[in-house]
């Protein structure tokens, strides 16, 4: 599904540069649910951004679904992002002047779907996250948990091969966090491949595998006994 080898990335800071990723090797199979952990500055978000084609690596190989991701034009990157990836952000990143349904349907617009089809699919995914009744509410009228569920519905709408979540529970309280995790687990049960960046141990333990990063290298990569979030909800 996803194969990364010898990935390097550094950011220029003034005259010197900060070497953030120092040769990452990682492969993820379809259907996995992987937590990427590490303290802040460990490079976990950078790794996720490169996987999400939001950022580019300096060197190394990255193959996603048998497509090598390298030297992409902006246009191609846009097409791949739309086709392969669904993003979930800590700060939700909903467009504030669009209602829930319009936010969910936006990736479908960039897929070139017809309006009617977008509406149907958007509603379907909103129903899936249990927010169909809120379809016509603006993000400002939703709670944090609801916003994140809309974001998840949006990430799912384009039917991506890989869901990327950057601290999806970072802005939520514990109960809401577990609700979101429960939902992500359900999606994983249905076969979705999910990568979650987090620094919270309890969230990581709800995945099936934990990859620990420190100072730009993988310290540990082990499968874990998945803690079901449903028992807390």
């Amino acid at each position: 599904m996803l194969k990364i080898s010898q990935l390097h990335k550094s950011y220029p800071i003034g005259d010197s540069s900060l070497h953030v990723l120092k040769g990452i090797d990682l492969s993820v199979d379809a259907g996995e649910m992987v937590a990427i952990m590490g303290s802040s500055g460990s490079g976990k978000s950078t790794l996720l951004n490169i996987i999400g084609m939001l950022d580019e690596a300096d060197s190394g190989d990255y193959i996603l679904d048998e497509v090598p991701i390298k030297n992409l034009t902006e246009k191609k990157a846009a097409v791949y992002r739309n086709k392969f990836l669904g993003f979930i952000f800590q700060s939700f990143n909903l467009i504030n002047y669009k209602n829930a349904l319009e936010n969910v349907a936006l990736p479908l617009y960039y897929q070139g779907l017809k309006r009617k089809e977008r509406q149907e699919k958007g509603k379907f995914h909103l129903e899936k996250v249990g927010l169909l009744d809120w379809a016509h509410h603006l993000p400002s009228e939703l709670s944090g948990g609801q916003k994140q569920r809309v974001a998840i519905a949006r990430a799912l709408a384009a039917n991506p091969k890989l869901l990327l979540a950057d601290e999806p529970t970072g802005a939520l309280d514990t109960t809401t966090s577990y609700e979101i995790m429960e939902f992500l687990q359900q999606l994983n049960d249905e076969g979705k491949t999910i990568l979650i960046v987090t620094h919270e141990e309890d969230i990581a333990e709800m995945c099936k595998r934990i990859v620990r990063l420190r100072d730009g290298v993988i310290m540990e990569d082990k499968p874990v006994e998945q803690v079901r979030a449903s028992q807390y909800v």
Binding site: A78, R81, F87, Y97, L106, P107
Partner: protein, 409 residues
């Protein structure tokens, strides 16, 4: 290709971000409004200038006689020069083609009455050519003609306001008017753009006046228009020659300024032309200045809008928007706002000018107005400038890495 979804996106963005849309629209509307008003006022000033010379023909030459101030050819100074009919004929014969129209004049102040209405007026006794020199317009009836002169008929043409003053209950045409005790038949009523005084004039055949009021062939002054094909300089040398010949004819010293005076409108016309030219340059400067201010305004707003939407752009890119989709959504939005606002500014400008016209006339601004094509041209210029000003930051924004845009909180 017409993409209804793109337009839906754009109208939603305009509609949901009303403050932003209104602010940018306001800038453009205001620039166009100012442009229209300033241009309109400048045009109004130009119209006033034109108007000032509308009273009489622009190629007018007036000849007065006076008292000589210098002795010449054995004649003493202080001699009164008196034009007569034969001087009129002399000029026509001597200069032929160079004279377009010509009339002599005798001026008489009269007390006029019709039934119980009385008032004082000036009578100008004239030749038929006066119609073209004064640029009178015949409202009713006819003008003085050659037959009137030949037969010395007792007829008059009266100004519109004379009719209004005296003929309160009836029409003047065909009625008689009493001038200093003598009855004249009103055969015509005229109007004149030269103002109320010109419309309180009474015209009669010059021969009639000469017989009744003096029984002589005296002429007070002579008016003529030079051939309009002459340019200013030729016209000036023509009037100089005319002056010289008349002075010769009356044995007046060449350097005597009073015996005969000739005033050529070409001198004034030249000055007016230069003034119009100067005004034209001022208009251009004002127009360009306003436009540049508008362009700077819309450019600033576009840069601000792109900045404000950076995060949204990042989200859209993360969801799979291609760079050109980002650019088009920003640009088309700005074009729509500019076009609509520009149109509103144009309507407002025309409306303001329309409302202010009566007031402005007091300040020598007549019929202020701008041609629609000019204002539409200005609006299109603003749209183009807005597009260009928006394109650069939009292009830049479309290249921002989504991660940078998303971090921008």
């Amino acid at each position: 290709m017409f993409d209804i979804d793109l337009w839906r996106e754009i109208f939603q963005s305009i509609n949901k971000n009303r403050t932003r849309s209104l602010l940018s629209g306001f800038t453009v509307a205001f620039a166009i409004l100012l442009f229209a008003i300033l241009f309109g006022i400048a045009n109004g000033l130009g119209n006033t200038l034109d108007e000032a010379f509308k009273d009489d023909a622009i190629n007018n030459i007036v000849i007065w006689s006076g008292r000589t101030t210098k002795a010449n050819k054995g004649l003493q100074a202080g001699r009164q020069i008196q034009f007569k009919n034969k001087d009129h004929d002399y000029i026509k014969e001597e200069f032929g083609d160079k004279v377009e129209f010509m009339t002599s004049r005798v001026m008489i102040n009269v007390d006029a009455s019709f039934r119980n209405e009385k008032s004082s007026y000036t009578v100008r006794a004239i030749h038929p050519d006066n119609l073209f020199i004064e640029q009178n317009k015949i409202k009713e009836g006819r003008y003085i003609n050659q037959r009137d002169l030949n037969e010395k008929t007792k007829v008059v043409i009266i100004g519109r306001l004379v009719e209004e003053d005296l003929y309160t209950k009836t029409r003047a045409l065909g009625k008689y008017i009493n001038l200093n005790g003598i009855q004249y038949k009103v055969v015509g009523v005229f109007t004149d753009d030269g103002g109320d005084d010109e419309e309180r004039m009474i015209y009669m055949p010059i021969t009639t006046a000469q017989q009744i009021y003096g029984n002589n062939d005296y002429v007070d002054m002579m008016y003529l228009t030079y051939n309009p094909e002459m340019d200013y300089d030729t016209a000036l040398s023509f009037s100089n020659l005319l002056t010289r010949k008349l002075k010769d004819r009356f044995s007046i010293a060449k350097n005597d300024q009073r015996g005969i005076r000739v005033q050529n409108n070409a001198e004034g016309a030249k000055a007016v032309n230069q003034m119009s030219f100067g005004l034209g340059i001022i208009i251009l400067v004002i127009g360009f200045g306003t436009l540049i201010a508008g362009i700077v305004g819309i450019s600033n707003i576009m840069i601000f809008i792109v900045k404000e939407r950076t995060k949204e752009i990042g989200i859209r890119k993360a969801l799979g928007a291609q760079p050109k989709q980002i650019i088009s959504i920003i640009l088309i939005e700005s074009i729509i706002i500019t076009a609509i606002a520009g149109y509103m500014g144009l309507l407002a400008g025309i409306g303001v000018l329309e409302l202010a016209t009566p007031t402005l006339e007091t300040y020598f601004i007549k019929d202020p107005g701008v041609s629609n094509s000019l204002v539409i041209g200005a609006t299109i210029t603003l749209i183009l400038a807005g597009t260009l000003a928006g394109y650069i930051p939009a292009k830049k924004a479309s290249k921002i890495k989504p991660i940078v845009a998303l971090r921008n909180d």
